[in-house]
Symmetry: C2
Subunit: 397 residues, 2 copies
């Protein structure tokens, strides 16, 4: 049984803060501080260029990829770390499209995070053929998969509502129609059990700064199913994805398996923080995480619904249809979230009218959930959001 | 007059090390340690998601881009930080090719760093038209620019020999032929004066972990000439390059000017180290850097040539034709470099037979140059390289 008091003790949460925004940026694992300092002072400072071998920097994308892979049910050697999620989605989609040259449609849904759609639009423009990005409502995805579809590109958990796609069912349907799948696991990795190997997914990508708590701007990961790994081409064919990077050949030859999805020099300081953040998962069962997340989410919904009649649940009511977040609709959500933050409850706002709360059992318990609901009640009941300070929008929300 | 004793004091160089490999990875500026720690503990740890506004993370790519821009002669607002050099070269090349739709040839040279060639090959494959990557010898580039050429893509300073291209002459020739230029400044930024604004360059990209000393895996930068900034499209069209990233629209609309070259979430911890590293340049004149670099390089060549008749100068003899490195050819360069490193002189090896030494006046002086030459003499004269330990190749060299 996962010891959540022990995991909680591994995080630094500022005094007086109830942090329900780990689905945007996870809080700092205590060990990250020392590990990052070590990477700077003892590795970069003392080893200089030698750190690439001596401190294992060069191997980190693969080593950390294997660790992340264990958390998402991936086969060993199918995940590598690097770049940003946008870049990794581009690589996955480009590789998948190249494997279906006779088809022209990328199917996605209106619940996808916009950068995935934007990257697809950029790729399609580059391809210069008559590819189409077809966007349907989330609940229409399965029915929209037919033999025109080259690639189904979806985010498993909707960033606004937390609505959860059925990865296995959609992947099976795609496969039956001869389409490939690209899954964005941004709000899944570390949030719920994922069985990439068993799901039939072809490609996946995700970020490590949300439920994996690796810090601001932490690198992304990419997964390629073993059956594709020697055929999938990275499109962004950088030297560290080359079969022999230090031979400095003029022609690109893809590296073996997942290594070819590496591009340029990986961000060592960020990877050090990621390494520390992954250490928190030792002894943590993703099944326990899921059970606890549902328990806490159900509690939060019940508390908020009984205390705040002004709010409308925007997340699916069935916990099995949700990721690890709970969202509510309210016309003045932006200001209400600012009022909450001023009172120590950190959630976030997503346009146009969503307030969303990430439930991360590693560092959130019942006490925080109950206190957050009480503070939200205060904000709503007493219209504390109705304040010009809270209504003035910052550059980033 | 730049005070090189003062700049030297701003770096941590391990006891007993003469570091002539800053062209691979610059040493740690003392201030980077505290700044990185601050980003981890005080920003991520205490501000959590709020750091994007409160600590200015969201603006850092532009703010630091402006600072880098000053060091490379770029107009304000033409440089932004992010991703890796491979990715930024891809973006620049893709944007440039899209601006010359009627042409099909990318011209580069055999002195270019392989990742630039690989990324071009990947892009050309994606474009699926009949583009060609034409690779000529460095000295044949100018003559090879004709009206078939869409883009001339070159690295200004050759990573092996240090041979320096004439950016202004080649850019002018390209422009006259109706071609665009993409300049890779990996071994130029922080190494010698660059006048991007005056050179007629169209696009440029570079890394910050070499002569700019921002640490392992530090992010890259990209430059787009102001005359193109509202026409150039990023190809890798990520959400942070969108005109309104937090509106979460379904369709991509490019941001204003250089901002559109942003892609995904930027690496905050690496940017913090970069910020500290850029602080070292306050009060440093790039003209002084160049004069001192030439002085030290000439001294090193004279010392090595008089002491080590076994070595053949691989760099141009004329200092005006070189960047800020000196390379020698020797059949057993790999083992010789290992023998040097074991004796505290850190240079590096580049296949097939090059030993290369970066000359960074910020932290290298005459004393180090003379001592390095003496140790190299010892290694050569006494065949210290002829040792199985030094001949065994590590994964990364």
């Amino acid at each position: 049984m996962t010891d959540f008091a022990a995991t909680r003790a591994q995080f630094h949460i500022p005094e007086g803060v109830i942090y329900l925004d780990g689905n945007s940026l996870g809080p700092m694992p205590v060990a990250a501080e020392a590990r990052a300092a070590q990477a700077v002072r003892e590795e970069w400072g003392e080893m200089l260029i030698g750190g690439w071998n001596k401190a294992g920097w060069m191997a980190m994308p693969r080593v950390l990829g294997r660790h992340v892979g264990r958390l998402i049910g991936a086969e060993p050697g199918t995940v590598v770390i690097g770049d940003t999620l946008s870049i990794k989605v581009y690589q996955a989609l480009a590789a998948a499209l190249a494997m279906r040259p006779e088809r022209r449609v990328v199917l996605s849904d209106s619940g996808n995070f916009p950068t995935d759609l934007y990257m697809a639009q950029g790729l399609i423009k580059s391809l210069g053929q008559d590819h189409e990005l077809r966007i349907v409502a989330p609940e229409e995805v399965e029915a929209a998969i037919d033999e025109d579809i080259a690639v189904v590109m979806l985010t498993e958990v909707d960033y606004r509502t937390g609505r959860l796609h059925d990865m296995a069912a959609i992947s099976a349907r795609a496969r039956a129609a001869g389409a490939l799948t690209v899954w964005d696991l941004a709000h899944s990795a570390g949030a719920l059990p994922i069985d990439l190997a068993g799901s039939g997914a072809d490609f996946a990508a995700g970020c490590t700064y949300k439920y994996l708590n690796a810090g601001p701007g932490a690198p992304a990961f990419i997964y390629v199913a073993p059956r594709h790994s020697d055929r999938a081409l990275p499109a962004l064919s950088g030297w560290l994805g080359h079969a022999a990077p230090f031979a400095f050949e003029q022609g690109y030859r893809p590296g073996e398996g997942i290594d070819r999805m590496r591009v340029g020099t990986p961000p060592v300081l960020q990877m050090a923080a990621l390494e520390a953040a992954l250490g928190v998962w030792d002894g943590v069962s993703m099944t326990d995480i899921r059970a606890r997340s549902i328990e806490l989410s159900e509690l939060f919904i019940a508390e908020v619904e009984s205390r705040c009649p002004q709010l409308e649940l925007a997340s699916p009511r069935d916990p099995l249809q949700r990721g690890s977040q709970v969202s509510f609709r309210f016309e003045e959500s932006y200001a209400a979230v600012q009022a909450l933050i001023a009172r120590g409850v950190v959630g976030d706002f997503r346009a146009p009218d969503i307030m969303r709360f990430g439930i991360a059992p590693l560092y959130i318990g019942e006490d925080e959930i109950r206190r957050a609901a009480l503070i939200l009640q205060d904000v709503m009941e007493n219209r504390l959001w109705d304040d010009p300070t809270y209504r003035a929008r910052a550059a980033v929300t």
